[in-house]
Structures are given as structure tokens and as C-alpha cells.
Amino acid sequence: MTTVTKQTNQFSSQAPSASGLWRFLRVFLGRKVVIFGTVIILGLIITAIFAPQLAPHDPYQQNLRSALQQPSEQHLLGTDQLGRDILSRIIYGARVSLTVGFVSVGIGSLLGMTLGLLSGFFGGFIDSLIMRLIDAIMAIPPLLLALALGAAMGGGLQNVMISLGIALIPGYARLMRGQVLTVKQMDYVKAGEVIGSSDFRIMLRHILPNCMSPLIVLVTLNLGVAILAEAGLSFLGLGISPPGAAWGAMVSDGYRYLLNNPLLSFAPGICIMLVVLAFNLVGDGLRDALDPRLRGTL
């Protein structure tokens, strides 16, 4: 008995170097592209929060006499067809994108994860019913769904967020369900039952925490998807109504004036691309950093 205890102390010195958090950060920030993405996202958040401080002009201020001007010292990106400063409108547009992104992903993930958890845990009829509902939502392309709901409920920003949220539900529901089904097979869940845990305790303590990793990755990736979708919708005319500044709407506006000031279309498009790219890269980075195969001796 004593010999055995001695050995465990010996192991302490052989313990793997870093604690969980350090390890995670080391892998996550190990790739340059991930750092790039994180920086952009932080930039986006700061821009959105401090838009009034950062924008050089009032984004709604029209000045028809200086419409469609080329970039100048006063207007770094030029002006749009109503004389408004493009740069300021882009800065304010960050607010719309970010809000739509977070709210719609919030709605979709909460509803989707709940449905997935119920579906996976209880199985049987509930599972079939929920899955058919999910299939139905998935059969309608998200853009179309948003359009149709927009037609019905009006095209405002609120409805765009709700419809995007609904369109995102299936991704979470399916992923969560898949995770729950896998985790349910694990011996530690059975151990929970053997030691006498209640169903609720097992679901909360053993199943849920072990399902979350890929879902966190999905949330990050979906933020990019939502922003892209919002841009598409505002391009088509749904979402924020004029004179509100949204990147997609700006691209649409600029379509007519390509030969006058192409920046009106190009600039917001580049922003959309950078932001979505950033979320994708960060999502990928998270996926690699959370991958259990990379964790220690597992």
C-alpha cells in the first residue's frame, strides 16, 4: 500500500505542463489567422459600440449638392447619392450587422439547442416530431423564409432577426441532438445512473457540459452566416428601412451609381467579407482548440 502511494507523488512531477485554460489559449492563438480574425471581431464590436464617437459625420445628414463625390479629405470614402458620408454610414452599419447577428443567432441557438436536447434525451415520438419540423424548416432556403415572413409581417429589422433566427434553428437542433445521442452512450452517463443520480442531474451535470464544444463553434460560425444573410436581405430591401445605414442596402444603392462612385458598393462589401471571414476563422480556431483529441493523454 505504501509503495503505491509513493508512486502517485512521483507522478505529480510528471504532470502535463499547462492547466486547461492556458492550453486552450495556446492552441487557439497559435495560428496567425485566428489572431487576425479575433482582432477584426474586436474591432467590429468596438466600432459598433463607439460609432457616434468614431464616425466623422452624421450618417443621416443629407447634402444633395455634394452627392456622389470621390474620396476626399473630408469624406474619406466619398459620398453617396444623397450626399451622405459613406464612411460614417459604414461605421453605423456595423451596429445593424452586429445586432442582427447576435440577436438572430441568440434566438436560433437557444430554441435550437432546447429542441435538440429534448429530442436527443427523450427520443421516441418527441424525437420524430421535432425532427420532421426541423426538416420542414430546412426545406425552405433561409433567404426565402425571411422574405416570406417579411412579406407577411412587414420587412422591419425586428422581423428580419426573428426570421433569421428561425432559419438557424435546424443547425443547432441537429447538432445538439447528435451530441446528446453520442454522449448518452458514454459510460460516465451510465455511471451517473448507477450511483443514483436523477434524470435531471444527469442531463445537467453529465450530458449538457459535454455537448457544448461543437455548439460553441457553431455559434461563432453562425454569427458570420447571419451577418451575411442580413446583408443579402437588406440588399433586397428588407430589414432596416431608409434612412438607416446597413451594409447590404448600401451595396444595393451603389449598384446604380457604379460608374460614379464605385466605392459606394465596394466598401461595404469588403466590410461584410472581412467580418464574415473573421468569424469563420475564429470559429475554425475554436474548433481546433476545443478538439478533445488534442487534450492531453486522451
Partner: protein, 314 residues
Amino acid sequence: MAGYIIRRLMQAVVVLIIVSFIAFSILYVLPGDAALIMLGLEATPEQINALRQELGLNQPMLVQYGQWFFKILQGDFGKSIVYRDSVADLIGKRLPVTFHLGLVALIISIIISIPAGILSAVRRGSILDSVITISANIGMAIPIFWLGILGIYFFSLKLGWLPVYGYTSPFDNFWLSTKQMIMPAICLAVVPMATLTRQTRSSMLEVIRQDYIRTARSKGLKERTVLIRHALKNAIIPIVTLLGLQIRNLVGGSVLVETIFTIPGMGRLMVSGVFDKDFPVVQGGIMVIALVVVLANLIVDLSYGYFDPRIRNE
């Protein structure tokens, strides 16, 4: 296998019924009077009433649903408020166009993304891999409509190589049709290309780690044989799943592409239907699109049996 097919068919039917309910109830989510909204504020009470009669809006909801559903089954999607044509006719004219666009985009994306994904996986960590991966990442981030506008700016306005808009059936004028198709199809193909490339890459990487690849190598097979005969055949299975999803994206993306390039397809029909509050068009459109998506997914699922022998005996 037969059981699997029949089960999938039944699931598809259930899904379509739920979709039809969703499509139908859009009308009922409306605050206010549907007929009034459709006709606009200048409509006279008689016109409104006439429309209400025509659409059967005075009856209880379930009855209306039943009537509508029954008509749908017969192919009668009602009449468009705006065009005064039968919705079925409208869809009939527009659907082939979108189909053409989607098919070309799908073929382009498969031809490029699968080899790209394989190369990227096999030469993991090389510059080629980085280039392909970064391109795929960018491809997933690019707004399609913006890409279209960029394309128009450079290739139409500045260089004059390609037409800005328009659509011609390939049966009428093949060369013109192709020139008009290039930009829209490529725009539409970007997202599926990017997604499929990433999926092919990760699928191949996953498969290459497997024990049976080591066995294949231990038999002394050429690396090329190992990759194509052993690895790819297994990697293709999850890729096929993704194809089903891409079909849905193609339909959705066509909404934007058709708008920019002024192509008279289903996408534009839906957009104008939404903005004109032309509900029969919107409802009919959703049903048909959902039908196409569900069918496409069904075909994909059924083709599993060909790719994965383990399913065949289920």
C-alpha cells in the same frame, strides 16, 4: 434497402405537408386584412370583397387550408394578383431558368471543389494547401451580390467582355446564353465551391487517418491507388450529404443572383411577389421550391446505398 427507401419517402411526404402548412399560414400571420393588404389602400370595398370571395377568406382557417391543399395537389396554385396569370403558368416559365442556372453552378462547383479539396488534403501544410484553404474561407465570406456587382463593374462596364444582364435559353442561342450565364453561374457557385472544398478536405484528412488506409499501404499499393480507390471512395460519403444541403443554398442564392443579373427565374419571382404582396405567388413558390429541395435531398439520400454498402442491408 427497400424499407429505407419507403421510410424516406414517407418522411418526405410528412415534411412537405408541414411546409405546406407553413406556407399557407403566412397569410394568417398578417396583422390586418389580407385582401386589403394585397390590393392596396386605393382598393374599393367591392374589389376587396371580390378578392375575399375569390380567395375564400371568409371561411374558417382549416377549411381554407383544406381547399388550398386540395387545389395544390391538382396543380392549381391560384392566380397571381399582379400578373393575373395562373401561378402555375408563371412558375412553369420561371422554374426551368433557375434550374438551368443552378445546374451549371452545381457542376462548376463540383468540378473545382473536389479536386481542390483532395489536393489540399494530400498536400497538407504546403503552400498549395494554404492557398486553397484561404480561398475557400474567403469564398464562404463573400457576399454573392457584391461579387456580382464587382463582376459587372469589371467585366461588363470596364472591359465590356460580358453582358450586364439578361437571359437566353440555351436552346435558342447557345453562345449568347453561355456568355450571359458565366458571371451569374460563377457567383452562385462560389459558396457551394467553398463549402464543398472544405468538406472534401476535412473528409479526406479524416479518412486518411483510418486503419484501412494503413492496410492498403501495407499491401504495397501505389499512393495514387490508395488515395482514389480506398480513400476517396470512403470520403465521398459525407460529401454527398453536403450536396443535399448545397442544393438548398443554390436555390436561396439564386434569389440574389437573379436580382442582380436580371434573370427571369424563380428567385426574382419570389422577390417581386413578396414586395408586391402577391400571396398566391409566394405560397405557390414556396411549395414548389420546397418540393424541389426535398426531392433533391431524397435522391441524395437514396444514392447513399450506392456509396455506402453498409446501408444496403439495413
